[in-house]
Symmetry: C2
């Protein structure tokens, strides 16, 4: 297993996110030099909604299935770490490493709409604990700390930028290597974030997100696509099923697919 460091843009700049073994191998074959898993994508395949509903053990099994079939560093989306307490979080970090990943996403979202984010002090304790568990591993582990201030629309609009910067810098000081801010797509705010946080910034692709070249120009270090590609494949699957069930024809899935033998070759 190689070492993935977010400070090496070549290694983890922009990463398609697989949700199972075959998409992992497909993305590496396409040229990905590191891959990040998607919690939402994996949860759905396993019959769960996103948001820490999937049992930790099942998520780790899914991460292991992905890590086992690729020869590039894997960073795992582990939501809020499947535990509130620092000790529980450390168990999760060890499980992620045992599953073969060398990076981990840790968010400050609680999944509780009444209190959508962990208090900053609590999240700092959690990241410190995660850092300690990561440093005790036999491999270097990258911690990507995420704040959902923007994504969960926490607090007044006017205060979100300052809240985000405050949290990101605190998470960095607590030991995070990368800082992940989903929910921001406008260039002025992205530029200001890079200037206000002296660490690699990770953003989430979505409608309105500038192209990678533009993001690189302003110093964004890393881009994830979350469940985006997975949800596009679901739309295609739904369209193909609708055509089959309601028209009785097969064009949607015959038009363009990877041949049966090629998929088998890919998995050998």
């Amino acid at each position: 297993m190689l070492f993935v460091t977010c400070t090496t843009p070549l290694r983890c700049w922009f990463s398609p996110t697989p949700w199972d073994a075959v998409t992992a191998r497909l993305f590496v074959n396409a040229g990905a030099r590191a891959i990040a898993t998607t919690s939402a994508g994996i949860a759905a395949t396993l019959r769960y909604a996103d948001g820490q509903n999937v049992p930790r053990e099942l998520m780790m099994d899914a991460i292991a299935r992905i890590a086992r079939v690729v020869d590039v560093p894997v960073t795992a989306d582990t939501e809020a770490g499947y535990a509130d307490s620092p000790e529980g979080l450390q168990e999760s970090i060890r499980a992620v490493i045992d599953a073969g990943a060398v990076g981990v996403n840790l968010e400050d979202a609680t999944g509780d709409s009444a209190q959508p984010l962990f208090a900053m002090e609590q999240q700092i304790e959690r990241i410190r604990a995660a850092r300690k568990a990561a440093d005790n591993a036999d491999v270097p582990v990258v911690i990507n700390a995420r704040t959902d201030v923007y994504l969960a629309q926490v607090g007044a609009v006017a205060s979100r930028f300052a809240d985000t910067v405050r949290r990101l810098n605190a998470y960095r000081e607590a030991g995070a290597d990368c800082l992940f801010v989903p929910g921001v797509t406008d260039m002025p705010t992205l530029t200001q974030l890079v200037q206000s946080v002296p660490a690699p910034i990770n953003v989430l692709a979505g409608p309105g997100m500038p192209a990678v070249a533009d993001l690189q120009r302003i110093g964004i270090a890393r881009l994830s696509v979350g469940s985006g590609i997975m949800r596009a494949t679901l739309a295609l699957a739904r369209d193909a099923a609708n055509e089959l069930l309601h028209e009785g024809t097969y064009q949607t899935f015959l038009d363009r697919n990877i041949p049966y033998n090629e998929v088998n070759e890919l998995m050998k």
Copy 2:
């Protein structure tokens, strides 16, 4: 769990084939009144090539994840039953039923290129054993016996039709409810098959297959799509990864996808 019978065309006429929990639920929401799993699709998600490489237990777990999230009958593609012996096959049938399926595909392909099909007498014994195990279950179970004479191109071209009919009729007498002939798409042969085998005939959609309405007109009872839809989603995933990695843009997956909240709703 409902009873799926192949003699009721409304129930199992044409079925999109899911490979995980989310596609299963998607296809039922699209109107599927029964679903058939795809061994190739499931195997690839679990890091195996098709052809009885996936451990039986993992395949049964995958079938269970699918059966658990839908309220229509599920029939499982279990390749050649993950066992050669009649006793091993009976264990597999019991495992399929425990996983929540009420139908099973059983092929006569061995996966061995030197002897691609089980000898007819051996396959008859296997189907008899499967029938016995199915009849001992608490639910009615539909056995869909498949011959790969055409798909594996066994024997001289001129003898394949007669070999197929001989095998299908023998499998029917051994207790199969449906008879599955992948690899045939031309109307004259399909018509002759229906006329030569007094039981529901199941075909596999692929390039050149006539539309469902045409198949119904000649009396074909059931159509599967195998890993077709799954392999179409893989082509889309690969295209999206290529665009991201080589163009640095996101159009392929942003153009058309199921929104994040909708996927979560689907899995609640």
